[in-house]
C-alpha cells in the first residue's frame, strides 16, 4: 500500500486538470492573437457552476443524476491507481493497462446513457456518436497496449514504465514510435479534441461530447466538466509516462514524490500545449471521415504489435 502516493496523484490530477485546460485555451488564444482569459478561468467556471442551483430536466431518471458522479469516480480511480507520480502501486494490483482503459470507457458509457435518458434528439445523437467513436477506438488502443506489453511480458503499467526507464533505447524503437503515434490519435479521439470533435463548438448538430451532456447545468455540469478535464490530463499523463517515464518516483520518500509531481506537470503541460498548438491548424473532420483516421491509427498499432515480435 502506498497511501501517500495515491493521495498526491489524486490531488495533482484533480487540481491540475482544470489548469491544463486553462493552459491549452490560453495557448490557443495567444496563437489566434487574442489575450485569453488566463489559465485559472476553468477553475473560476467550476466555482461559479458549483454555486448554482441543481436542475433536473423533466422526464429524466436517477441515472441522469448519477452519471456525472460515476463518470468522475472512474477517472478518480484511474488517477489514484495508475502510476503518474510514483511506480509504487497504490492499492494492490490495480494498475493494469487493460483495466485502466476499461474504467475510462465506463465513464464514457454512463454519460452516453445519461444522454439517452434525456430523451431529446441531441442527447441521443451525442450518445450515438460518442459510443461509435469509442467502439472504433478500442481496437487501436488495445493493440497498442499489446505492442507495448509484449516486450515486457506484462500489462502492468508500472512494469512497462520501469522497463523503459531501465532500457532508454526502447523509446526510439520502431515499436514505441508507432505505438506512440497510434496512442496520440486515440487520446485525441477519446477526449473529443480536434479534428475528431470540437470542444468549443456552439452548433448542436456538429457536437459529439457536448451534445451528449447538453442537458446538464449547475453542479452536475461542474462534475462533467471536471471529469472531462481530468480525463484529458489522465490520457496525457499516461502518454507521457509510457513513452518518457523519466522523473517517475520509484519509492515513497517526499523528495522523490516532489520530483515526480514536477516531472508530471512538465510532461502533461508540454504535451497539452503541443496539442493546443496543433489544434490551431486543424479543422474538425466530418463525422464519417473519423473512422478513416481511426483505421489509420489502427494500422499503425498493428504494425507496432507485429514489429514487437519481429524486431524484438
Amino acid at each position: 500500500m502506498n497511501v501517500a502516493g495515491g493521495v498526491v496523484q489524486a490531488v495533482v490530477v484533480v487540481g491540475g486538470a482544470p489548469l491544463l485546460v486553462g493552459v491549452m485555451r490560453q495557448v490557443r488564444a495567444r496563437l489566434e492573437g487574442r489575450a485569453g482569459p488566463g489559465i485559472g478561468q476553468p477553475w473560476r467556471d467550476l466555482r461559479k457552476l458549483l454555486g448554482k442551483e441543481p436542475i433536473t430536466p423533466r422526464g429524466t431518471t436517477e441515472l441522469f443524476r448519477l452519471a456525472p458522479l460515476v463518470s468522475l469516480a472512474t477517472v478518480l480511480v484511474v488517477a489514484v491507481v495508475a502510476p503518474f507520480v510514483t511506480t509504487v502501486p497504490t492499492v494492490g494490483p490495480a494498475a493494469d493497462l487493460f483495466a485502466v482503459v476499461a474504467l475510462l470507457a465506463l465513464g464514457t458509457v454512463v454519460l452516453a446513457l445519461a444522454g439517452l435518458d434525456t430523451g431529446t434528439a441531441f442527447g441521443g445523437m451525442g450518445a450515438s456518436r460518442e459510443v461509435t467513436i469509442l467502439a472504433l477506438v478500442e481496437p487501436t488502443l488495445l493493440v497498442a497496449i499489446f505492442a507495448l506489453s509484449v516486450r515486457v511480458g506484462s500489462t502492468n503499467l508500472g512494469a512497462i514504465m520501469t522497463a523503459t526507464v531501465e532500457d532508454p533505447a526502447r523509446v526510439i524503437s520502431p515499436v514505441s514510435l508507432l505505438a506512440a503515434v497510434a496512442l496520440v490519435v486515440v487520446t485525441v479521439a477519446e477526449n473529443g479534441r480536434l479534428p475528431v470533435d470540437n470542444p468549443s463548438t456552439h452548433l448542436e448538430l456538429t457536437m459529439v461530447h457536448e451534445a451528449m451532456v447538453l442537458e446538464y447545468a449547475g453542479p452536475d455540469l461542474a462534475l462533467v466538466e471536471l471529469a472531462s478535464a481530468m480525463r484529458l490530463a489522465v490520457f496525457l499523463g499516461l502518454l507521457g509516462n509510457l513513452f518518457l517515464p523519466w522523473g517517475l518516483a520509484t519509492g515513497t520518500d517526499p523528495v522523490a514524490l516532489a520530483v515526480g509531481v514536477l516531472a508530471l506537470v512538465v510532461k502533461v503541460g508540454v504535451l497539452g500545449a503541443l496539442l493546443a498548438a496543433a489544434e490551431v491548424f486543424l479543422a474538425k473532420l466530418r463525422l464519417f471521415r473519423v473512422p478513416e483516421l481511426l483505421a489509420g491509427s489502427f494500422l499503425l498499432s498493428l504494425l507496432a504489435a507485429t514489429a514487437a515480435f519481429f524486431l524484438a
Binding site: A102, L302, T306
Partner: protein, 666 residues
C-alpha cells in the same frame, strides 16, 4: 454411489418424474409443478457438477440398455463444469417459469426432459451415449422452440430452420465420430483416447465434428437458426438454449479436439480461432444493428461463443507449440467466459422476457421509459448489460481480461504465424468489446430509459414475483462472478487442465494471479474503489456545492415547443453511424420512395424510407446451396417415373454392380 453419481441420478429422476407429473396435473397447478421440478433437477445437476469439479469421479456402463452400443456415463472436471452451468441455468429458469409459463401440456412436460438431456450430454462417456443424448437434446429443444406456434406464424419458420441446421450438425458429428470409432477397439472415450489414428483421418474427424459442434454453438456459417429460434422460443427456454445448450457445442470441440484426439496439428486450431474471431465480430455487428431485443441477445450469443472459441483456438495453438501453462490459461479464460456468459445471458433473456410479458413488444424502436413501470426489470437488465459489455465491474470483463492475458503472453519464440495471429486476435477481442458496449448502451438506453415510444411501453407494469425472483437470482450470480471470480477459477482451471494438461492457471483469493506469467487483477478492488470514489465525489460535492433544492426544468427543445416521443433517438438511429462505418460488411438494403404532388414534380407529397440489415452471410451462402439441393432433387425425380419395370431394373443392375465390385476387390 458418490455425490456426483447421486446428483446425476437425482437430476434424471426429478426431470423424468416432473415431465410425467406435468402431463397429469390440471392446468392451474402445472406451472408450479414444472417450476418446482425444474428447480429440483437443476439443483441436483449443480450438486453433481460441483462434485465433479471438486474431483469426484464415477463411471457406469450398462451394455444392455441400448442395443449395439450400450450406455456409459462418467464424470470428470470438464464434464462437471458444463453440468454445473446447465444445472444453474435450469434452476433459475424453473423459478422464473412458475409465473411466466402459460404454455400447453406438451411444452411444460418437454422442458424438464430438455434439461435432463443437456445434463446427460457432458456426462456421456461413449460415442453411442453421446449421440443419443445429443439427439434427445435437439428434439426436445425443437419442441420447445415450437411452443408458441399457434400465436405467431414466424415460430414455424424458426422451427424449420432450427430442425434442418441442428440435424445437419448432428449428421456431421455422427459421421465424424463413427470414423473415429472405426479406428478404435471400442466406442468408449477411454478406447478412443488410446486409438492410434493416421493424421489424415484425425483431421477429417476433427473437421466433421467441428462443423457439427459449432453449428450447435451458433458459430458462423451455420448460425442462421440462432437469431431465429431464440426470439421465437419462450424467454426462459431462450435463456436455457442461449446460456446452457450452446455451451455444449464448445464442450464437444474441447472434448473431441483436445481430449479424445489429444490436440493435433496447428491448422486445426487456427481454423477454430478464425471461426471464433469471424463469429465474434459478425455476431456483435449484427447485434448492434438489430432492433429486436431478443434477436439482439441471440446475436450476442454468437459473439460470446465466438470469443470462447478464440480462447479454445489459442489454447490448442499454444498446446500444439508445447506451451502447456499458457494453453491452460487460454482454455481457463474460454471456460470462465462460458460460465460468465451463462450468468449474464440468463439475466438478460429473463429480463427481456419480463419486458415481453409486460408490453408484448420486442421492438426496441417501440420501447423506452420502462424505468417507471418496471424498476426491478430495468435494474436487472442494466446490470446484465454492464456485465455483457466487458467493462469493470461487470462479469465479462474478468474473462475477457484473462483471454487478453493469454493472447499477450502467447508469444512463442520466433513463431511467425502466431506473431500475426495473436495481435489480430487481440484486435478482434477489442473491436468486439467496443461494439458490445455500443450494442448494450443501445439496448439499455433506448429500451429502458427516456420516454415511452408506444402505448404498450407506457402502460408497462412490473412482472409477478417468481419472475422477479428468477431474474434477481441470475443477476446476483452474475454479480458474484464479477467481483469474486476466484471462487470458481480454481475449478475452471482444473477443468481446463483435463483437456490440455498442466497445473492450475490462476491462484489467489481476492486477486486473480496468473501462474507462470506475470499478471494480476483484482475485480474486488475495482468495485470497492469505484464505490469509494463515488462516495468521495458525493462528499466533495456536498461540501463545496450550494445546498439549494433541485428544480425541475424543461428540456432544451430549441424553443420549438415540447418534445414528443417521436423526436427521440430510436435504436435504428442510434446504430446508424455504426451501420455507415461498416457499410461494406453489412450491405444494408435501403429504399427511398418519393411521392410527388400530381400538379408539380417539385412538390413532394410523401417520402418513404425503408431500411433493413439482412444477415449477409446467410443471404450469400445459403441460397446457392439450397438451389443446388433442389436441382439435385429435381434430377432425382427423373429416375423415379413410376414404372415398376424400371425399379426392378435398378435393383438388378445394382446387384450386378455390387457383385462385380466384390469380385474385383476380394
Amino acid at each position: 454411489m458418490n455425490l456426483a453419481s447421486l446428483g446425476l441420478a437425482g437430476a434424471v429422476t426429478a426431470g423424468v418424474v416432473t415431465a410425467l407429473v406435468a402431463v397429469l396435473v390440471p392446468v392451474r397447478a402445472r406451472p408450479v409443478v414444472t417450476g418446482a421440478g425444474l428447480v429440483l433437477t437443476g439443483a441436483a445437476g449443480v450438486a453433481a457438477g460441483a462434485a465433479g469439479l471438486a474431483g469426484v469421479t464415477f463411471s457406469v456402463s450398462w451394455p444392455a440398455v441400448l442395443p449395439l452400443t450400450g450406455v456409459a456415463f462418467g464424470m470428470d472436471q470438464l464434464a462437471g463444469l458444463f453440468l454445473a452451468v446447465t444445472g444453474g441455468v435450469a434452476l433459475i429458469a424453473g423459478v422464473y417459469g412458475v409465473s411466466y409459463s402459460r404454455h400447453g401440456r406438451a411444452a411444460q412436460a418437454t422442458l424438464p426432459l430438455f434439461v435432463v438431456a443437456m445434463l446427460l450430454v457432458p456426462a456421456a462417456t461413449s460415442v453411442g451415449t453421446l449421440l443419443v443424448c445429443w439427439e434427445l437434446m435437439a428434439l426436445t429443444s425443437l419442441l420447445l422452440v415450437l411452443a408458441e406456434h399457434r400465436q405467431r406464424p414466424e415460430v414455424a419458420v424458426a422451427g424449420r430452420w432450427y430442425a434442418v441446421l441442428t440435424h445437419l450438425g448432428f449428421a456431421t458429428i455422427l459421421c465424424g465420430l463413427l470414423i473415429l470409432v472405426a479406428h478404435a477397439p471400442g466406442d468408449s472415450f477411454a478406447d478412443l483416447r488410446a486409438a492410434p489414428l493416421p493424421g489424415g483421418v484425425a483431421g477429417l474427424v476433427f473437421v466433421l465434428t467441428l462443423v457439427g459442434f459449432t453449428s450447435k454453438a451458433g458459430i458462423l456459417p451455420l448460425h442462421a437458426w440462432l437469431p431465429r429460434a431464440h426470439p421465437e422460443a419462450p424467454s426462459h427456454v431462450s435463456a436455457l438454449m442461449s446460456a446452457a445448450m450452446v455451451n455444449l457445442g464448445v464442450y464437444g470441440v474441447v472434448r473431441v479436439g483436445l481430449d479424445l484426439l489429444g490436440g493435433g496439428p496447428r491448422w486445426w486450431w487456427l481454423v477454430v480461432l478464425g471461426l471464433g474471431a469471424v463469429s465474434a465480430v459478425y455476431g456483435i455487428l449484427q447485434a448492434a444493428m438489430s432492433t429486436d431485443l431478443k434477436r439482439l441477445l441471440g446475436f450476442s450469443t454468437t459473439e460470446n461463443l465466438g470469443l470462447v472459441l478464440v480462447g479454445v483456438g489459442a489454447a490448442g495453438l499454444l498446446a500444439a507449440g508445447g506451451q502447456r501453462v499458457l494453453a491452460g490459461l487460454a482454455l481457463a479464460a474460454a471456460l470462465l467466459h462460458v460460465v460468465n456468459h451463462a450468468a449474464f445471458k440468463t439475466t438478460l433473456f429473463l429480463a427481456a422476457g419480463s419486458v415481453l410479458h409486460a408490453t408484448g413488444v420486442r421492438d426496441l424502436d417501440q420501447l423506452g421509459g420502462l424505468r417507471r413501470g418496471m424498476p426491478v426489470t430495468t435494474a436487472v437488465f442494466g446490470w446484465g448489460a454492464l456485465a455483457a459489455s466487458a467493462l469493470p465491474p461487470g462479469t465479462a470483463f474478468v474473462s475477457e481480461w484473462l483471454l487478453l492475458q493469454a493472447l499477450v503472453h502467447g508469444v512463442p519464440e520466433g513463431g511467425g504465424a502466431e506473431a500475426v495471429v495473436m495481435p489480430v486476435a487481440v484486435a478482434v477481442v477489442a473491436l468486439t468489446a467496443g461494439l458490445a458496449v455500443a450494442t448494450f448502451v443501445k439496448a439499455f438506453g433506448v429500451g429502458f430509459l427516456a420516454r415511452p415510444r408506444s402505448r404498450q411501453a407506457g402502460e408497462a407494469h412490473e412482472s409477478p414475483p417468481s419472475m422477479l425472483a428468477g431474474m434477481v437470482l441470475a443477476a446476483a450470480v452474475a454479480a458474484v462472478l464479477a467481483v469474486l471470480p476466484t471462487l470458481v477459477l480454481p475449478a475452471v482451471g482444473a477443468a481446463a487442465a483435463v483437456a490440455v494438461g498442466g497445473g492450475p492457471a490462476t491462484s489467489g483469493v481476492l486477486t486473480v494471479r496468473l501462474t507462470g506469467v506475470a499478471g494480476e487483477l483484482s475485480p474486488l478492488v475495482y468495485a470497492v474503489a469505484l464505490l469509494a470514489a463515488v462516495v468521495l465525489v458525493l462528499g466533495g460535492l456536498r461540501a463545496t456545492a450550494t445546498r439549494r433544492a433541485r428544480r425541475a426544468a424543461r428540456l432544451w427543445d430549441c424553443g420549438g415547443g415540447p418534445l414528443s416521443a417521436r423526436m427521440e433517438y430510436t435504436a435504428t438511429s442510434f446504430a446508424e453511424p455504426l451501420q455507415r462505418v461498416f457499410d461494406d460488411v453489412l450491405e444494408p438494403e435501403q429504399d427511398v420512395t418519393v411521392d410527388h404532388v400530381e400538379e408539380s414534380r417539385y412538390l413532394v407529397r410523401a417520402v418513404e424510407y425503408r431500411r433493413a440489415v439482412p444477415d449477409r452471410v446467410e443471404r450469400r451462402l445459403y441460397p446457392p446451396v439450397i438451389a443446388a439441393l433442389r436441382a439435385w432433387g429435381e434430377a432425382g425425380r427423373r429416375l423415379a417415373t413410376g414404372s415398376v419395370h424400371r425399379y426392378l431394373g435398378y435393383g438388378f443392375y445394382t446387384l450386378c454392380g455390387v457383385l462385380l465390385v466384390l469380385a474385383v476387390i476380394s
